[in-house]
């Protein structure tokens, strides 16, 4: 079969790639699938093309001009892709917003980006926009594509997505050929997206990303590590995140179909339906998956548990041997084959990754234990590193040269070096076009073409990059030794019982402390098995047995840490860290300085000699109301 992969540099925008891919694959070939009403609905490249075209023209007839911004606030559905490409075809710029953002955040993004239109998925999202509409004078239309519950809304600025498609059809009658003209007027250096950085510090900034930022390195990666038109990909990470746009690029470049889940909550089942070859996991998802597997095994019947525990060492043996670059001998091969047939195959099937060839992870550092675990059970996770600013993928692990602690080597055309302070600098075609309306901030991070990542890194002799944590996070202790809290935190999160942790040290003290979040599910189940009664999360978190459990987990991790960086005292927090309270970013990264500030009282107490601390913590409910919880937390020492 002839390859449909488009490598030519002349197709330098997403819409151009779409038109070309539609020609190469043929209008009748499957391009998108969407599970709706329990059935996988199919869209061909031809239909895809039409939706994009008419949406684009519809937006033009509503007044969209080249360079205008349009915010999209929706779950992964075909409409997101159509709108994305349609807006870009008209020369517009897409602003991706996470669907779990609070109205206040949506308002900030839409206002700061000067959006003229907002696409809001459904009633939930439309309600958010209506709430803040008065503060957004620039917004002309709010376009939704799921009309459920919106039947009696009378706001004049509301418009159905499919109405826009109709407008586009009308518009085409008067202006035939205009869509193709618009697309060819596009240029690889045009801004395609503005994505607001998760901002672990300060206000979010809008990173402007051009088509070339994604496509140039994308082509190279696809040459080293190709995807094929026969591959399947399930779109499950938010398009408000740059990573998904890398997947869109590959999809258009290679011509493989994309499948959209029915509902964010059915993703697991939908992935299993499709059995994708290409899959992307956020680091947090993998951590959660590992926790689920371990918890389920504890719950499983005797036989299953026995088989799992019997073969797990074999899995680790395989992972370690392969990572070391060796091959298993025949004895281990047979053992692994047995383990695979009895346990691992079924495990992979349960998670829908039986056919996964490319399983990538990113978004945050991943504990080596997690990689060993997944590679052992046959899911060949590979870690990549990238950002909106420095290029969506700058380096990544390649099969055959996996080094556990590292995020692989830089891809071709990507240059990396380490500054004197230990900061990772990147120069590549992927380096972004600057922050929207914030030249000051841009100048701070891009100096002479080198993007300053703010990541504290280490590059080994083979060019493999190890991300140690954020520069701003690296702390010095009173004994003049430095440590990276991140490094300890990701290892803590491998524990099935711990969901999050803040590891802390300060210059005036000589030891390290931690605030940990227990995992409600697994610890809850553990408590039930041990017949430990509890009421709420707060109660559970302070149970002496749970404290002991946490202490044991910390001890395990402490062994892997250098002497001076070991955790001496900890508090099991009475609540979970939550993005709604700005403790985590929307991609679930810890907003360290904020959290440190917020829990200063607790941290101070850990450096005193108290054994307990009473705190009032403010919580924000989903609907924006605030409440106060008052609890006493124990301060625990690890001996």
């Amino acid at each position: 079969m002839e390859s449909t992969t488009i490598y030519e540099k002349s197709f330098d925008t997403f819409p151009k790639l779409l038109i070309e891919q539609c020609k190469r694959s043929g209008a009748n070939k499957l391009a998108l699938r969407h599970k709706d009403r329990g059935i996988w609905k199919r869209f061909t490249w031809g239909q895809y093309y039409d939706y994009v075209k008419y949406f684009s023209l519809g937006m033009i007839s509503l007044g969209l001009k080249r360079g205008d911004k349009v915010s999209i606030l929706g779950e992964n559905e075909p409409e997101w892709y159509w709108a994305d490409l349609g807006i870009q075809a008209a020369g517009g710029i897409v602003v991706g917003i996470f669907t779990d953002c609070m109205p206040k955040e949506v308002q900030y993004y839409a206002a700061h980006s000067d959006s003229r239109f907002i696409l809001a998925h459904d009633q939930e999202q439309v309600d958010k926009v209506i709430e803040i509409k008065d503060q957004l004078p620039l917004i002309e239309k709010v376009i939704y594509w799921d009309p459920k519950g919106l039947w009696s809304y009378t706001q004049p600025y509301l418009l159905n997505f499919y109405k826009v498609i109709e407008l586009g059809k009308e518009y085409e009658k008067q202006h035939p050929g205009i869509f193709e003209e618009n697309v060819s007027a596009g240029n690889g250096d045009d801004i395609a997206l503005i994505l607001y950085t998760s901002g672990t510090t300060g206000l979010p900034k809008g990173a402007m990303v051009s088509f070339n930022n994604i496509l140039i390195v994308g082509r190279i990666i696809n040459k080293i590590d190709p995807s094929f038109s026969t591959d399947n990909y399930v779109s499950a990470i938010s398009p408000a995140w740059i990573t998904e746009h890398n997947s869109i690029a590959t999809h258009l470049m290679v011509g493989h179909p994309v499948s959209f889940p029915e509902d964010p909550e059915t993703v697991q089942q939908d992935i299993r339906d499709i059995g994708p070859q290409i899959i992307f996991f956020a680091a947090r998802q993998l951590e959660a998956m590992a926790r689920i597997i371990q918890a389920k095994i504890v719950d499983a019947g005797f036989l299953k548990r026995f088989a799992y525990n019997l073969f797990l060492p074999v899995a680790y043996k395989k992972a370690d041997t392969e990572i070391a670059g060796n091959k298993l001998n025949i004895f281990w091969k047979i053992l692994y084959w047995l383990g695979d047939t009895i346990v691992f195959r079924n495990l992979r099937d349960k998670f829908g990754v039986l056919y996964a060839r490319k399983a990538a992870s990113g978004g945050a550092a991943l504990s080596p234990d997690i990689i060993r675990f997944f590679r052992g059970v046959g899911i060949n996770i590979r870690v990549g590193y990238g950002s909106s600013e420095g290029g969506v993928t700058s380096c990544g692990q390649l099969e055959g040269e996996i080094k556990l602690e590292t995020a692989g080597r830089p891809y071709g055309l990507v240059e990396m070096r380490i500054s004197e302070q230990g900061e990772l600098l990147i120069r590549s075609p992927g380096v972004f076009k600057g922050y929207y309306k914030d030249e000051e901030a841009t100048k701070k991070v891009v100096i002479n073409g080198w993007y300053h990542t703010g990541d504290f890194c280490f590059i080994d002799g083979d060019g493999h990059v190890t991300i140690m944590g954020r520069m701003a996070d690296v702390r010095k202790l009173s004994n003049n030794k430095t440590f990276s809290p991140d490094y300890a935190e990701i290892r803590l999160r491998f524990s099935p019982y711990l969901k999050d942790a803040l590891v802390f040290g300060r210059e005036t003290e000589n030891y390290v402390t931690a605030i940990v979040n227990i995992d409600k599910e697994t610890v809850g189940r553990w408590a039930e098995q041990k017949h430990i009664p509890y009421t709420t999360f707060t109660d559970l978190s302070q149970k002496p047995e749970v404290i002991k459990l946490v202490a044991d987990e910390l001890k395990k991790v402490n062994k892997a840490l250098p002497e001076h960086a070991r955790i001496k005292k900890f508090v099991s927090l009475n609540k979970e860290f939550d993005p709604d309270e700005a403790e985590l970013t929307r991609t679930r990264k810890l907003r360290r300085s904020f959290v440190e500030q917020r829990f200063k009282e607790i941290i101070d107490a850990m450096y005193g000699d108290k054994t307990e601390i009473a705190v009032h913590s403010e919580i924000t409910y989903r609907d924006g109301r605030k409440g106060i919880i008052e609890t006493v937390m124990k301060i625990n020492s690890i001996l």
Binding site: R37, G38, I39, K148, G149, D263, E265, T266, R622
Partner: protein
């Protein structure tokens, strides 16, 4: 002059006795097109009895219930259901061994018109009918956000989810009036909020009257356009939520006659 809305369901002089207990004592009630009516009252006031009389579980000793001009008293239950009276139950009545979607499909049985032979062969008319019904059921699943529990066995579902399936089952009957018996009992506040939205959306989408029994006064006052109060089998009040809120008899029924409530409420 404002157009008088149609009376959809008329209950007249209904009496229901269990031995010496007057469960329903001279109840008369009209339900109009396209309204949400809440029936409230203390425990044992006869709320569920009234619904049971409407859909034929109980046969009243005297009185009449007419729905779109048809007399319901004396009709068998399945006839009443096929006239378009859908209801949910306080203590959920579902096939616990079947999945959510199967429960909803089972509710469609009143619309199956195929013969036994056709059904035995399945292909042809039965298959077509099955697809058609499945589409309708899937719309309901989408409507009630039941995608995640579609293929889960109902017996294994948590209570709030089962309530949803129960509501879905009632909707699958394509009712012309919907009777909900404590749709929010035992739910947490988030589930309650969702259920309230489904009730309002159903009302908006299907334009049918909805009668609900509910104990959560917050919900009742928020979503009902009219509130009917029963006490010891008698109707003691009927009016808008605001009228009911300050009705002396209602306060007495709920709090007792000499409850020491401030004079301004008396």
């Amino acid at each position: 002059m404002v157009e008088q809305p149609n009376k959809k369901l008329i209950v007249e002089k209904l009496f229901l006795n269990f031995g010496g207990v007057h469960a329903l004592d001279d109840i008369s009630l009209d339900i109009y097109d396209n309204e949400i009516v809440a029936i409230i009252g203390p425990n044992g006031a006869g709320k569920t009895c009234l619904l049971n009389c409407i859909n034929g579980f109980y046969r009243p000793q005297s009185g009449s219930i007419t729905f779109e001009g048809k007399q319901l008293v004396g009709l068998p239950r399945h006839k009443i259901a096929s006239l378009g009276i859908g209801r949910t139950f306080q203590n959920i009545q579902l096939y616990t061994g079947l999945t959510a979607v199967e429960n909803l499909m089972a509710a469609r049985h009143i619309f199956y018109k195929n013969t036994f032979i056709e059904d035995a062969i399945f292909f042809g008319p039965t298959q077509k009918a099955e697809v058609k019904h499945r589409e309708i059921v899937e719309d309901i699943i989408d409507f009630l956000d039941m995608e995640t529990i579609r293929d889960r066995v109902v017996g294994a579902l948590p209570y709030g989810q089962r309530k949803k399936v129960d509501m879905g089952r009632a909707l699958a009957l394509e009712p012309k009036i919907l009777l909900l018996d404590e749709p929010m009992a035992g739910m947490n506040s988030e589930e309650k909020e969702d259920m309230a939205r489904y009730i309002l959306d159903t009302h908006e989408l299907r334009r049918i009257p909805i009668v609900l029994i509910e104990h959560d006064m917050g919900v009742v006052m928020d979503i009902a356009q009219r509130v009917v109060v029963l006490d010891f089998g008698k109707k003691i009040a009927d009016g808008t939520p605001d009228e009911i809120r300050c009705d002396v008899r209602v306060i007495e029924a709920y709090l007792g006659r000499d409850s020491g409530i401030p004079m301004k409420y008396k």
